[in-house]
């Protein structure tokens, strides 16, 4: 083989003139810069803002549901409207709020916590976001196009088959979830590669912050769970659009197939929802307790254990379907077992704050609220594992109480803690702590008023998913309490929004680099994070590396602030409020030289175009059932997708570094000729030669 060496390495292929269809966007400001952005930080912010808007929509749906149930024989909503609202409430909160809220933090924080300049595939990241947005809008367009999905977030077939749901409601749900599934899977691939491949020197896996670890576990769960619901949705689509028989009992189709597929996705999904929040809380507690996280490796391994065991418990959603004593016993036991790693984590968190010198700022309050509320939800979860007990609870409000305690009391409390904690890093200002505390206490009160009574309502036999109940059932008082509670939560959300306005517009408290005395790498860099994240890629020596750079121990084991020059470097000039936002981090390392040539991935039109073509395809397929001509719309969408992916593949991830083409203002212009590593934004896929990879692997860029 070596004999053929001679004519080999042909000159780098001739500089093909830009093969792209569109001129590359270059303006660092304005709306278009956001539309074409590939910066993980901007994408994170987009995820967060979008998810918050969907949170408000899902919340309004919840309030309408509670208004309807406030009194017996409520007249606020019709049965059909109620079905649509509870379906959309669940679907929204799971797929359009908690998952993308977590994705916001994944995107923003993971590169910062591992010391990278971006994710592995910046354009794929943008594609994930846009597809999430368009998938959400697609789902919500159903309200204007004949009615929203009405089969519950679980969409049990054959109830959702065409015989029983002839409208397009369920079709919107099917295609909407497919789009969101593709977005999540692409995001998961991207993040997994980022975390496995792009860690800073010294950042071994067992030195990764716990939030990053939980992101990794969560991403693997997304990677493996999403294809399963994709298949379930495909089968249902073939049933509805093309007359297949998968869920048609007349032809021998088995309704349990849907339940198995859905819950084999659905149970890992609940860990996808909770693990990121667990990660955030594991970051926040040590900072505000001023102690290291108790049992870091145990917390990490518990998270991994939950990730594995989460695949073996799905049948506890199906205890009432008559699977027989062996299956039910096995899944009862596995469900009880999964409480063990979860309990281990809770004890570790409690041990972390035990005898710490606590600072009860808002993030800490939310984090401790998380522990308490999640523990209640976890305990009611254990009662579901007891199958005789579960038979009493299935399809009652007890289940509703349980999963709101883990998803609201757990995931949303954790996310709120995360918002208050990382806000200064993201936006450069602190959220007001006094208003934050009002937010927390009202939120906690409203949450418990709303959901605690549901335990009792469920045990009294109030079924889920009914749109009304009779006066004589004795469910009146507790339902009223619950409705009042839901409006208390709404007040808390308004307080939060007021806080955001107040703290960013009215009374800006500029954040230092490290306002909480943090422990992880994101606190070493200026607030808000500069475009290029790290002027120099950090070298990591231990878990909580930043803490160990700031503190040493005296003879009694008490932390003592280090005052060496090294630490001055670790706390760059940006620490002074007036220097915030300036790239003063160049001082890191002693001198005042500019950061070395950093070349970041360039913005691109193709991710949003590719994402935009997919709802077009979906509308075509959806209306294809009414008239075959509409399938042409799907073909148009497919062609557009193909074109966008092809152009994407031919476009290099980053434009070649030319001194003239300086990066956005805050980024120092590249210095000198690009060295190999300067070409590459922390391992971002910069193809060696301009012209990019082949189109075929372009979808991976």
């Amino acid at each position: 083989m070596t004999t053929v060496l001679e004519p080999t390495v042909g000159p780098v292929p001739p500089e093909a003139d830009d093969p792209g269809l569109l001129r590359r966007p270059s303006d660092p400001r304005g709306v278009w810069s956001w539309i074409t952005t590939v910066d993980h930080k901007r994408i994170g912010i987009l995820y967060g803002v979008t998810a918050f808007v969907f949170f408000l929509l899902g919340g309004i749906e919840a309030l309408l549901i509670r208004l309807q149930l406030a009194k017996p024989n409520g007249q606020v909503l019709s049965a059909e409207a109620y079905n649509q609202l509870f379906t959309m409430h669940g679907t929204t909160m799971v797929f359009l709020v908690i998952m993308p809220m977590s994705a916001a933090f994944f995107n923003y924080l993971v590169p910062l916590q591992i010391g990278a300049r971006d994710v592995a595939f910046p354009r794929l990241n943008a594609f994930s976001y846009w597809l999430f947005l368009f998938g959400g809008l697609f789902l919500y367009s159903s309200f204007f196009l004949g009615g929203a999905p009405n089969g519950g977030w679980f969409g049990y077939a054959p109830n959702t088959s065409i015989t029983f749901s002839p409208g397009h409601n369920i079709d919107f749900w099917i295609f909407g979830l497919q789009l969101l599934g593709i977005a999540s899977t692409a995001g998961a691939v991207n993040l997994i590669v980022t975390m496995l491949n792009m860690r800073a020197p010294g950042m071994t896996l067992m030195r990764m912050p716990v939030f990053t670890w939980m992101t990794l576990v969560s991403s693997f769960l997304i990677l493996f769970a999403m294809p399963i619901i994709t298949v379930a949705l495909f089968l249902l689509m073939f049933d509805r659009n093309f007359g297949a028989n998968f869920f048609n009992p007349v032809a021998g189709g088995d309704p349990l197939l849907w339940q198995h597929l859905f819950w084999l996705f659905g149970h890992p999904e609940v860990y996808i929802l909770i693990l990121p929040a667990m990660g955030m809380v594991s970051e926040i507690l040590p900072v505000f307790a001023r102690k290291p996280l108790f049992g870091y490796p145990v917390i990490v391994f518990s998270g991994i254990a939950i990730g594995f065991m989460g695949w073996g418990v799905w049948v506890h959603h199906m205890f009432a379907t008559g699977l027989g004593p062996v299956a039910i016993s096995a899944f009862s036991i596995s469900t009880m077992f999964i409480a063990v790693p979860t309990g281990v984590k809770i004890f570790n968190w409690v041990a972390t704050i035990w005898r710490g010198s606590l600072r009860l700022n808002t993030p800490m309050l939310f984090a401790m609220g998380f522990i308490a509320m999640f523990t209640i939800g976890g305990l009611s979860g254990v009662t579901h594992a007891v199958s005789p007990h579960d038979r009493q609870q299935t399809d009652t409000y007890y289940v509703v109480a349980h999963f709101h305690y883990v998803l609201f009391g757990g995931a949303l409390f954790g996310i709120m803690a995360g918002i208050y904690y990382w806000w200064p890093k993201i936006f450069g200002t602190l959220l007001d702590d006094r208003i934050g505390k009002w937010h927390f206490w009202i939120w906690l009160l409203g949450f418990n008023l709303t959901f605690a009574p549901m335990h009792l309502l469920g045990l009294q036999g109030m079924p889920r998913r009914i749109y009304t109940y009779d006066d004589s059932l004795g469910l009146k008082a507790l339902n009223m309490v619950s409705t009042v509670g839901s409006f208390v939560i709404a007040v808390a959300v308004l307080i939060f929004m007021y806080n955001v306005w107040y703290s960013t517009k009215k009374r800006r408290v500029v954040a230092s680099n490290d306002p909480w005395d943090g422990r992880t790498l994101e606190w070493t860099i200026p607030s808000p994070t500069p475009h290029y994240n790290f002027a120099e890629i950090p070298l990591v020596h231990s878990v909580d590396d930043f803490w160990h750079r700031k503190y040493t121990e005296d003879e009694n084991g008490r932390p003592v602030r280090v005052e060496s020059t090294d630490v001055a470097a670790a706390l760059p000039p940006g620490d002074e409020p007036d220097a915030v936002g300036h790239s003063g981090y160049g001082g890191h390392g002693g001198g005042h030289e500019d950061p070395p040539g950093i070349h970041l991935p360039s913005p691109s039109y193709y991710p949003i175009l590719a994402a935009l073509s997919m709802p077009v395809m979906s509308y075509g397929l959806l209306y294809g059932r009414d008239s075959g001509q509409n399938y042409l719309v799907a073909v148009v969408g497919a062609v557009a997708l193909f074109a966008a992916l092809y152009a994407w593949g031919l476009e290099p991830s980053a434009e070649p570094a030319e001194p003239a083409e300086a990066e956005p203002a805050e980024v120092p212009a590249p210095v000198g000729a690009p060295a190999p590593e300067a070409l590459d934004a922390g391992g971002a896929p910069v193809d060696g030669a301009p012209g990019g990879g082949a189109p075929v692997d372009g979808s991976g860029h």
Partner: protein, 209 residues
């Protein structure tokens, strides 16, 4: 990976390495790792489809069933064709590793054509079945057969598109040895699709009901 590193060792320029990506924690480039991770996800996709097929085997309430329709010798031949395409894929990779671009194009095209032959066989099989009275609507067997094999067929077709794109790049002189990994990554996908077919072929055609 091993063969790739060996080849790099023969090269004079150290710069070649950087076209395969930055030095990463795992030693795999981001692109290649992403393909492995993606294929992990694909395993679950096909796993769920194959499980659904298994569940419904022999549970159709009406005919026609597999025994009425299958032409196992025919499908065996087209399966063999698909498996041979994995060989030509490997030859294509070997060709680009030694910068033999003419053979690279030959083997890429051969792989694509073998894949297309397989797809043609599948189209023939589908039309035959439909003529003999089995559609996706007929019974459980029809639904699960067409969806599972159709899904696989779509995967093969996408693979053919990738191969032809590579061929086209090579014709335009833009697929040089520094980009060996692109061929390798497409190869990973192609081999995966072949391996999945072995499972599907066994489950659908070989295991008696």
């Amino acid at each position: 990976m091993a063969s790739h590193t060996a080849t790099v060792g023969h090269e004079q320029e150290a710069t070649t390495e950087h076209s395969h990506g930055h030095v990463t924690n795992t030693g795999l480039s981001n692109e290649k790792l992403a393909m492995w991770v993606f294929l992990g996800s694909e395993c679950l996709l096909f796993g769920a489809l194959i499980s659904s097929y298994f569940l419904y085997r022999g549970r159709s309430t009406t005919g026609p069933g597999p025994d009425d329709l299958f032409d196992i010798p025919f499908t065996s031949v087209s399966s063999f064709v698909l498996l041979m395409s994995s060989l030509t894929m490997v030859l294509a990779l070997a060709a680009i590793q030694r910068a033999d671009y003419r053979r690279l194009r030959i083997w890429l095209m051969a792989t694509a054509l073998l894949g297309a032959t397989f797809i043609a066989g599948q189209v023939y099989e589908f039309t035959t079945f439909i003529r003999e009275g089995l559609t996706i609507r007929t019974n459980l067997f029809g639904s699960s057969f067409f969806v599972l094999t159709g899904f696989h067929g779509v995967h093969v077709t996408l693979g053919i598109v990738m191969l032809l794109s590579l061929w086209n790049l090579s014709v335009r002189g833009r697929l040089t040895r520094e980009r060996t990994e692109v061929v390798e990554i497409v190869g990973l996908y192609w081999h995966f699709v072949d391996v999945v077919w072995i499972v599907i072929f066994t489950v659908i055609y070989l295991i008696p009901t």
